[in-house]
């Protein structure tokens, strides 16, 4: 499973960081960073929630 962020859409609202701090971080430059591009399966539920909750629909999951 791969985390994909469309940076043309990402608006750094940081909702994903609140849901899955293991996967996402917003730094002081106001940009979103992905901490684990290929997260373990146990983080799937959190990642799916982050996908649903992203206000700009910028996050998606690519399955191998």
């Amino acid at each position: 499973m791969k985390v994909v962020v469309d940076y043309d859409k990402c608006d750094s609202n940081a909702v994903c960081v609140g849901i899955a701090p293991e996967l996402f971080e917003v730094r002081d430059d106001n940009f979103l960073y992905i901490l684990q591009e290929n997260p373990p399966e146990e983080l799937r539920a959190k990642l799916e929630q982050a996908v649903r909750m992203c206000p700009t629909h910028a996050i998606s999951i690519e399955d191998d």
Partner: protein
């Protein structure tokens, strides 16, 4: 678990769609019907005042799901059709045109509609902005390079003003209060929002009220109560919304600026509400609220669906920290919590002058809300503290520690 076979969602909205998705995610395999007054598939409203109005996105991009993906949800979509009444005893909806729709589980997600100024004459060029159709029409007007007057400097009015300025249009922004957003954010922070407009060339006039509109067939001027007039080719009125509950008036359900729910979003047995239309008891704040934000529609839509399936014994209170964002000019404004005009406000990071800051709001020794300009990273710290019911002193100590 409630034993349901016929769920109906009224409102083909963000909250309504998230409710449908949550029903399926939770394994519900009975029938779902979604009734929507607009002819469109569910779409997202935030871009209507931003990217789409700016001409950067095509309107189709607002769709919340690919049209082909509704089959996966196995939902019977009834679009362009209004629910006109509800009989909770008979477990039945009445639809425009006389149709009836029985249900055993119901989610009310009918949203809200823009308020209009009283006695607005029937002149072309006067708009509200709520729907995709409103947005398309207004965007068409913007292409002709009009002089724009925006009535109301709340978040919709502010975003329309910012987008219009971004397109190089002349904008006058009229606000009835002495300071915009003073009731939601307090005077000092409302002033920070006012500065953004002024710095970007908007003619912001506060403490003025609109007396009427002049024009022959099409609006030409806005008349103010003090006798002044403002030339206008297009007027956008953004003075708040009214929850869509008139169809529920004969239902006997409790209505008070919204449909009144308990802490689990239940209105009556098997009937739940979500989104802009729902007024519920948020146990985190110990107060009733009705929240018009995007994130709330997403979370409450899902929570209402999960609670409907769980039944009264299994239902969980819905206790979110409200969150919204607004993009105006190059400033990202974000807010978490629930503040009032008379809360104590303190800037704890950055400064208003630099247009980058975090302000926190306190009441009765507790942190209630936080507002950030261009500082998304720190917002989450305060969101967590608000969710933990942290004290004002702990919030200040945290701020000192982060520096």
């Amino acid at each position: 678990m409630a034993n349901l076979t016929r769920c109906v969602v009224v409102g083909a909205s963000l909250a309504g769609l998230r409710a449908v998705e949550a029903l399926r995610r939770a394994g519900y395999d009975g029938a779902i019907t979604m009734v929507g007054a607009e002819a469109h598939l569910p779409y997202d409203r935030p871009p209507l005042s931003k990217e789409i109005l700016a001409g950067k996105w095509e309107p189709e991009r607002a769709g919340l799901r690919e049209s082909g993906s509704y089959a996966e949800l196995d939902v019977d979509l009834r679009l362009g059709l209004e629910a006109t009444a509800l009989d909770p005893g008979a477990r039945e909806l009445q639809l425009d045109g006389g149709g009836r729709l029985p249900f055993d589980g119901l989610i009310i997600a009918t949203g809200a509609r823009p308020r209009m100024l009283p006695n607005t004459p029937d002149l072309a060029g006067i708009y509200t902005l709520r729907t995709l159709d409103d947005c398309r029409a207004l965007r068409g007007e913007f292409e002709a390079g009009p002089r724009v007057v925006v009535v109301g400097a709340g978040f919709i009015g502010a975003e329309v003003a910012a987008t219009a300025r971004g397109r190089g249009l002349d904008v006058t922004l009229l606000e009835a209060l002495p300071v915009p957003l003073a009731r939601a954010l307090g005077e000092e922070m409302g002033e920070a929002c006012a500065d953004l407009h002024r710095e970007h060339g908007v003619d912001l006039r506060c403490g003025v009220s609109v007396a009427g509109f002049d024009g022959a067939g099409r609006v030409e001027r806005v008349r103010l109560a003090d006798g002044a007039t403002v030339a206008a080719d297009v007027v956008v009125v953004g003075i708040g919304v009214t929850p869509n509950t008139s169809w529920l008036e004969s239902s006997g359900l409790p209505l008070r600026d919204g449909v009144v729910c308990d802490a689990t979003c239940a209105v009556a047995p098997g009937i739940y509400a979500a989104g802009d239309v729902a007024r519920w008891d948020n146990p985190l704040f110990g107060e009733e609220m009705r929240v018009e934000h995007w994130t709330n529609a997403v979370e409450q839509g899902a929570a209402a669906a999960e609670n409907l399936l769980a039944g009264p014994e299994g239902a969980r209170p819905f206790a979110p920290v409200p969150f919204f964002w607004s993009d105006q000019y190059d400033t990202k404004i974000q807010y978490v919590g629930s503040s009032r005009a008379d809360d104590e406000v303190r800037v704890v990071h950055g400064s208003v002058r630099e247009n980058r800051f975090v302000a926190i709001y306190g009441r009765n020794g507790r942190i209630m809300a936080a507002l950030t300009f261009n500082w998304p990273r720190l917002l989450l710290d305060y969101r967590r503290l608000i969710g933990e019911r942290a004290s004002w002193d702990d919030a200040l100590a945290h701020a000192a520690e982060v520096g």
